[in-house]
């Protein structure tokens, strides 16, 4: 997994590429929670480059979304594609996350 953080005036954008699974989810979670500790309240996850997600990855999304919600913030998911979207819906996460077609539309909402 590759992770890149970009700061914009309204949100932090975290771009994830590759696999968010048992072996990589802890490093995403640690990085996102550190941003929240530093005061981030709006995080957009750019998932355009994500090719694989397992329950460990889904768990890390829920953990970071809960942490943001407790600070009055929100986690916005952009550009879910293919099997990542399929798994996301299979696990019922579409009921608790807002998803956006692109980072730009997520930022408009933020």
């Amino acid at each position: 997994m590759e992770l890149a953080v970009q700061q914009t005036p309204s949100a932090q954008i975290i771009a994830l590429r590759g696999r968010l699974d048992t072996l990589t989810a802890p490093s995403y979670e640690a990085r996102a929670l550190a941003l929240i500790d530093d005061g981030a309240t709006r995080i957009v996850l750019d998932l355009a480059g994500l090719t694989y997600i397992s329950s460990a990855g889904l768990r890390s999304l829920i953990v970071t979304a809960k942490a943001l919600q407790q600070q009055g913030g929100v986690l916005l998911l952009a550009s879910l594609t293919g099997n990542v979207r399929d798994v996301f819906e299979m696990a019922g996460l579409d009921a608790i996350f807002k998803t956006y077609d692109s980072v730009a539309t997520a930022l408009d909402a933020a």
């Binding site: 829920i62 798994v87 608790i96």
Partner: protein, 142 residues
């Protein structure tokens, strides 16, 4: 029937080898990319679960994965020597709860049950045997 076997330590560090073995069998059996992805994810969930729960923390055990390619299906058998556990009967968390009260875990077995075409558990010889089956695309008639 073509059968291959791989024995691994029941440790998450061995996950990439487990997945590579199963993906190679799926490619060899002609499983389409989408179904291969579903099978790979199901195997990750089962493998990680048993690495975490099947054996005592201070006494890690083994996992044996075998692949069985028949005309119309690919079956993956995953055996371990750990405590009895039937994931096919693991409870499904309430997927309608809002974020604030949604449990963070428990999704692995929800996925496994939805990803594969058939799932079967047996307790055999003091071990667990889980069988994941994927249907193969139709063969042309001769």
């Amino acid at each position: 029937m073509t059968t291959q076997r791989l024995e691994l330590p029941a440790e998450t560090a061995a996950l990439p080898r487990a997945l590579a073995f199963v993906v190679a069998a799926a490619e060899g059996a002609g499983l389409a990319a989408e179904a291969r992805g579903r099978l790979e994810l199901a195997v990750e969930e089962v493998f990680v679960n048993l690495c975490t729960h099947a054996y005592p923390v201070d006494a890690p055990g083994w996992v044996e994965i075998s692949t069985h390619h028949a005309d119309d299906r690919l079956t993956i058998e995953i055996r371990d020597g750990g405590i009895p556990f039937d994931g096919t009967r693991a409870p499904t968390p309430d997927l309608t709860r809002p974020l604030a009260t949604r449990p963070v875990g428990g999704l692995g077995w929800v996925l496994v049950r939805r990803l594969v075409d058939a799932l079967d558990y047996r307790r055999v010889d003091d071990g667990n045997l889980l069988r994941l089956t994927m249907r193969l695309p139709g063969q042309p008639r001769r």
